[in-house]
Symmetry: C2
Subunit: 212 residues, 2 copies
DNA sequence: TCGCTTATGACCCAAAAGGGTTATTGCCGT
DNA sequence: ACGGCAATAACCCTTTTGGGTCATAAGCGA
């Protein structure tokens, strides 16, 4: 059976050495190379052709968030496993957006790292438990909360939806068989409830708060 | 140490019995009750007060997608672990939106079920590998694609952003030290590139296509 | 150097948006 | 039965928006 080839990006010299030692001394795994920053990702990927990359986030010059993006631009088939002390949502979702295939926190992965590398190589998505939880929570948009929060009525939602589709007051009125003046009335109420000044701003807020 | 209390929703009689047997015969776990559909979730939760619910999707009368929603409406602290043969995206994301805390495929979890129950009880989010992967992929929207697709320039994005924040042409002009006529010019170009008719529609499209 | 894109700006003009005010109807809950 | 709220509608008015047209300067790549 062919070994899994792993490259490591980690700026802490001691940790980088430990990772290399750990991975190279595990059957079925082989370190192609280790790096302390990702300024030359493209050249390094061309040279190494790893199956899996272990990527730290906090590195000087060029951080791992850019690193994962560059690797995925070079070859989307290289699996990238984030390995970081940061567990804030901004970093997490920035990495996922850029194509990270897994996300491990350094503090809870000393003996979970090797199985995680195998898992990501096999097409899985290893995540520390707290991370997986936050990822699922991102899908759990409470749905009605924003509507309740601003007291938007069903009719107002209908009007907003058409506004966001480019309908004029007149067209919205025709669509619902009501006067354009009433449409205006609804929108006036919406603007007040959302604390916005005009249509575009209302649409932006409504979409971002999942009202429409 | 107190046992983890588990309720099971599963319409297959044989499997339901097996799950009960497995869980009841594991130290630290205790079955409160098992059910073959979720028509009376609220009463059952009131009676059982489980820590964790194992929820099948394909059940007669009322499926598990509604089931998880009802349980979370009753008490958001009850952990719900989906356990199903379906691995299509529609079911998956419907469950996650409704608040599921984990998602296991029946085919690959005979001996992973107990650890998964413990993990979800402890606040984790156990997922079958293929599931976790698809969840992460949902975040991987390629970012620059839409901007490229419509040929939106950096300046146009800036203008759109302020429009979405409720700025008038005049205010945008002041912000960038350009004439409101130029702002209009930019927006005219944007509307054409996005194939929209007006500001609200442009803002809606820009947000939904992740341009802003 | 020529053509293309980007960013800039102006003028005319019609349509739309949006603020203020006032009022009626129907429904729901107390 | 009464008050509150959603939905309806009209009027006045100013500001904003957006379509059409024309024009210029800077930068960039073939």
């Amino acid at each position: 059976m062919k070994s899994i080839h792993v490259s490591v990006y980690e700026d802490n010299d001691k940790l980088r050495g430990l990772l290399e030692l750990l991975i190279n001394n595990t059957d079925g795994f082989h370190i192609t190379n280790t790096y302390s920053n990702c300024l030359n990702v493209k050249n390094e990927m061309t040279k190494d052709h790893p199956d899996v990359v272990i990527m730290d986030i906090d590195m000087p010059k060029c951080n791992g968030i850019n690193g994962v993006r560059m690797i995925k631009e070079f070859d989307v088939n290289i699996r990238v496993l984030m390995h970081t002390v940061f567990d804030n949502d901004d970093n997490l979702f920035a990495c996922l957006t850029n194509g990270a295939d897994g996300y491990l926190l350094k503090r809870d992965t000393s003996e979970q790292l090797i199985p995680a590398i195998r898992e990501v190589f096999e097409g899985g998505a290893p995540m520390s438990p707290g991370i997986a939880r936050r990822v699922l929570e991102a899908f759990h948009h409470p749905k009605e909360t924003a509507v309740d929060k601003y007291n938007i009525t069903p009719r107002e939602i209908q009007v907003l939806e058409l506004l966001a589709r480019g309908f004029s007051y007149r067209m919205i009125g025709i669509e619902f068989s009501i006067s354009p003046e009433t449409v205006k009335r609804h929108l006036k109420n919406i603007y007040q409830k959302l604390s916005v000044q005009c249509g575009p701003e209302a649409v932006a807020k409504a979409i971002r708060e999942k009202i429409i």
